[in-house]
């Protein structure tokens, strides 16, 4: 797969990359308003298979709303989201290839780790859901707690179970909202290995995080969302980690956005 062309200016909101095949994930001029407030305003991104977009931004920038729009959890006020060329809000089946991992566990506390992951596997039509659940838990190094109710697990272990739930169906698009929350070093390593393997297998990742190092380590594209708009969007290769941190601070404190 050739490297996609990525907009190289702060005006990236209106420029779309071109791909021969439909991008794994594409948002066109996406807008979502809550009353008079535009949480997401004219955002366009495109990710080819195997790409990872690291999305940074201050609190309230619209990152989580954008992720919910990309996952089909929210309907956009304007614009559209396509997964492998199909509109995500047209048919629930389009969401079959989408996974979601959040800083909230998205788990049922009364169910065991295995039951939670197997429930997600069944909803995604995964054959032999119990075995798939155990394999996913094993991948996140939490299989030894498979039959423990989630409410009895520590926050970090819950996050590992949540990650297993998000990847049990081997998604082609994975949406990650602060996925390292609560994870210890071993858990973070297991998650990074899993994400790297998924990307190597052709999954497109969108990683929302406040931690620049964490995001830049996985990214092939880097973007900054500020007040609902993409204030910065560059290929990772064009981003110098040394100079990006002060640039990011400028962007989100409005000094560089003017």
């Amino acid at each position: 797969m050739p490297a996609p062309a990525v907009p190289d200016a702060a005006s990236a909101t209106s420029v779309l990359p071109t791909h021969a095949a439909p991008p794994a994930l594409e948002a066109r001029l996406l807008r979502r308003a809550f009353g008079p407030r535009r949480a997401v305003d004219g955002v366009s991104v495109a990710l080819a298979a195997g790409e990872c977009l690291a999305l940074f931004g201050p609190n309230g920038a619209g990152k989580s709303t954008l992720l919910r729009l990309l996952g089909g959890l929210l309907r956009p006020t304007a614009g559209e989201v396509r997964v492998a060329g199909r509109r995500v809000d047209d048919d629930p089946a389009v969401r079959a290839g989408v996974g979601l991992l959040s800083h909230q566990s998205l788990l049922y506390a009364a169910l065991t780790a295995r039951e939670n992951v197997a429930f997600a596997a069944r909803l995604h039509g995964v054959p032999d859901p119990d075995r798939a659940a155990l394999a996913a838990l094993d991948r996140l190094r939490v299989a030894d707690r498979a039959d423990t109710p989630v409410r009895r697990l520590s926050r970090g272990l819950q996050q590992r179970v949540s990650a297993a739930r998000a990847v049990v169906h081997t998604p082609r698009v994975l949406l990650l909202d602060e996925p390292y929350t609560g994870l210890d070093a071993a858990g973070a390593e297991a998650l990074t290995e899993t994400l790297t393997a998924l990307a190597a297998g052709g999954a497109a990742l969108v990683l929302v995080t406040h931690h620049l190092d964490e995001g830049l380590a996985l990214a092939t594209q880097v973007a900054v969302l500020h007040r609902g708009r993409l204030a910065f969007h560059q290929p990772r290769a064009a981003v110098d980690p040394e100079t990006f941190a002060p640039r990011y601070r400028d962007l989100v404190t409005d000094r560089g956005a003017a």
Binding site: P92, A93, R95, L100, L106, Y108, A110, L123, G125
Partner: protein, 234 residues
């Protein structure tokens, strides 16, 4: 998109998965069931001790008591229905799955129907015992039949309003305020049918109420299923 041969479950299969998950959670925690049954039994006892048998006949009072208890004990479970999904935002994973919102609604309603029916199975014998209701053959199953038929409409409306109010600050207050007016067309024929059954009237006299109940069940089930996806937008 997905691996070859992998297909997401259909509407009925999804509804069953969601219902089974909800009932498993309720079976493990028993929080809503115990609260509803305790409320129902306490209400039966309170109504019993505030009743003057010389002033009002038991057969005249029992239908009202029964349906008051059904409605309010049912609301306890209905309120919890979406509370389970909101606790750790599990609802987000459910909505991100490749299943229709309508199927999720039917699953939640099916679980609520199981919950309300279980509460009714405890309440009907309790009312029969405390009000010394006639022990005619087939009366108890007939009463339960009416109760379950009415429960379909009640849970359809209650599940929808539970989804609508769960994110609000006054959910416990808003759910009954919104749902109770819609319960009236279901509770009225159900209470009338219950009264006639208790009075030993023939089934032919009860049939029009059952038909009315069935019609409202159908209308509420279809309308609430279609309206449900819109309640999920923030």
């Amino acid at each position: 998109m997905t691996a070859p041969g992998v297909t997401a479950p259909g509407v009925l299969a999804t509804a069953w998965l969601v219902a089974r998950k909800d009932l498993t959670i309720e079976f493990r925690t028993r929080s809503a069931f115990l609260a509803a049954v305790t409320f129902a039994l306490l209400a039966v006892v309170i109504f019993r001790f505030s009743w003057d048998p010389t002033a009002v006949n038991a057969l005249d009072l029992a239908p009202g008591v029964l349906w008051t208890i059904f409605v309010f004990s049912g609301l306890l479970g209905l309120h919890r229905s979406f509370g389970v999904e909101q606790a750790d935002r599990a609802v987000d994973a459910l909505l991100a799955a490749p299943v229709s919102r309508e199927a999720v609604f039917l699953g939640k309603a099916l679980a609520n129907l199981g919950f309300v029916t279980a509460v009714q199975c405890v309440t009907v014998p309790a009312v029969a015992l405390f009000y010394d209701l006639p022990a005619r053959g087939g009366l108890l199953p007939a009463l339960l039949g009416v109760a379950v038929l009415a429960a379909v409409g009640l849970v359809a409306v209650g599940t929808l309003f539970s989804a609508m109010t769960v994110n609000t600050r006054l959910a416990e207050l808003l759910l009954p305020m919104l749902a109770l007016p819609f319960f009236v067309p279901i509770v009225t024929p159900a209470a009338l049918a219950t009264a006639r059954l208790l009075a030993g009237r023939p089934l032919a006299e009860v049939a029009p109420m059952l038909r009315l109940l069935g019609s409202f069940d159908l209308v509420f089930l279809v309308a609430c299923t279609l309206a449900f996806p819109f309640t999920l937008e923030e």
